[in-house]
Structure formats: C-alpha cells, structure tokens
Amino acid sequence: MRADHAGASSHGELAQTIASVRAPTSLRAYVEDQRRRHQPLRLRRRMTAASVVASVALSIAAAVTLFDFGPDAPTVVETAALAERPSSQATPRPSMADANLLDRRAQGVSYPNWQRGFGWRAVGARVDAVGDRRATTVLYAKGEKRIGYTIISGDPLPPPGGARTSVRKGIPFRYLQRGDRSIIIWERNGRSCVLSGRKVERGTLLALAGWTGVVSDYGA
C-alpha cells in the first residue's frame, strides 16, 4: 500500500495483513515453467523458412501417427497423455470436510477420493498448458496401475470423433480406446474432464468417472 493514501493505524495493520500473503511454491514453479516454455518463441522466429516447413511437415506426420486425426481427437488424446507424466506438485490428501473428496480443486471442481470405495489412491498432481487451456491432473495409483484425472479450463471440448457414449444418471460419458490406453471424457460443472489409464478396463474408468460419492455408486 502506498504512503500517499495510507489511512489510520488500523488501516496500516490491514495493509500488513494483506501483504503477508505470498504466492505458494507450487504456483511459483508453474509460472517459472510457463516462462521457460515461452522463451523459445524468440528462437523460433529466427528459424529459416526451410526449417519451418520441415518442422511443420514433421509435426503433421507425428500428429497423424499419434492421433488418427479424428475431429478434435488430438486435444483429448493429448490431454489423456498427461496421465503418463510424472507428478510435479504435492500429493492431494483426503478432504477434512468430506472423505469422498480430495483437498485439491481445479476450476471450482474438487477431485474425488477413490481410495475408500475403489482402492485408487492419489499419488500426485501436475498442471500443464494444452494449447491455450490449462489442464490440472491428479494422478491415482492402484498396485502397478496408474490413471490420470484431468480437468480442462475453458468451455467444454467438443465430443471426440469416433467415441462411443455411455449415459449414467443422464450424463453422457464418451469412451475412446487408443492402443492400450482407455480414455473417458465427460463434463462436470461445465468443464471437460478426462480420465485415462493404460491397461485399465473401460468399465473401471466408467465406474470411477460416474461416481458421485453416493454409496450405491460403489457397485457400479
């Protein structure tokens, strides 16, 4: 707070309280990571036209190989791949207020605690930029298997091409299979959620995705 508009001593104390708050370490790490990612932009501008053309061609070839080029599939599959990346943030803990939830939220939506009902425990978290969207992922593990639950910022993603649909309690869950990776995409609170894992049954993912903390959902 500036001296030119400082008020009474109580106001000074208020200013001290406000200024005592610092950005958390996880946020600093995220911003630093984003800053580093955007530095190469300058280098890219120096590339020759030929190298740009070559890079684009390589990128298209890689995209065709990885994503089949179905409508919007790249975004969903790219998002699902975040489940393979290592944790970069603190492991979420069960919420003190509701054992069905973790203490981690993204876009105003809490992540579920699947340990009690399904045996999947939270083992880490990470935040990534996917295009101009932010993707917050909580990683879960059960034995050797591992899954990632990603919530994407912004408007919901369009349904991916080639996906099948399973409706539970009126909510459509889109299902994709890419190699040994199963992917479920659905909406919660107007956000796209992507749940994926390698060598995990589609039914398992659907049960997890459709669970709302109600006991009867356990057997689904």
Partner: protein
Amino acid sequence: MERPLDPATLGDHLDRLYRAAYALCGSRSDAEDLVQETYVRVLARPRFLRSDEDIGYLLRVLKNTFVRQLEQRHRHPAAAFAEEAEQVEAHDPRPDEAAEVREVYSAIAALPDNYRDVLIAVDVAGLTYAEAARALRIRRGTVMSRLSRARVRVAERLTGAQPDEGRSEHAR
C-alpha cells in the same frame, strides 16, 4: 508506442497478482487456479502494451478471467460433486493459514464489484490512484471515493458492525 510484454518479467508480479486473485475469490485454491489461468491466457500469444504498467494489464486479464469463470459456472449448473466441493471450500480451513488473513480476504471478496475492484487495485496490488484509474478505466476521483467506501465496509465486516441499510452485499 507499443512494446511487447516480456514473459521473463511476469514472475515479478506473482505475489501481487496472487493476492488480487485471493481477494477476488476469497479462497486460496481458487486463487491459484485463477492466476494459473491468467498466465495461460497471457502467454498464449505475444502481447503488446501501450504503457509500462504490466501489473495493471495483468489485473485486467485476471478480472476478465474471473468474470468468465463465473459466467461459465452460472451457465452450467453444478453437478452433485461440484456442489459438495463448494461446501468443502467453505468449511475446510487450512491449518497453516492465519484466521486473520482469511477474514480480511473474505471481507474483500464479499464487497460489491465496484468497491472490490478498486480496493484490490490500490490496497492489494499496490497501484497508485492514477494507475488504478487507468487499469480500471475510471476517473481518479471515482477511485478515491470508492476506495474510501470499500475500506469502511471491510472494517465494518471485520469488526462485526452492521452495514448501512439499503446497501446490498455482492453475491458471487
């Protein structure tokens, strides 16, 4: 004359931006989300500014992102889990956070939009009256009058005094 916003300097404003986000949301976890979303939007493409007030620009993006998030939540009614999540946020105090800090930021977040924005710009983000006026695109005198009222309301809320009749509290 326009100049490009240098991504390398964005980290310099992080604490101020985080405080502003906390004051908007009234919750640390939502504030972290909001700041991350703001940086994603800012870094999505090169930005060119007409002045040297990076923090003023970032505050505008932060506010726009916050408003957009609110609109999206209103467009899409919360599902069962989301409703529970809001309750958790309200009743899940973090032991490492002083109650005093929570009360102050909650009091700011509960202000009507116009008062809250000015108080955030000046008292939270540390802009001068002139900078706040430019960032919020209002007159300097308006900044001063709204700030004065905003401070009174925060003080009333913190001391438990009843606000004057006819002044509706902002409902987020």
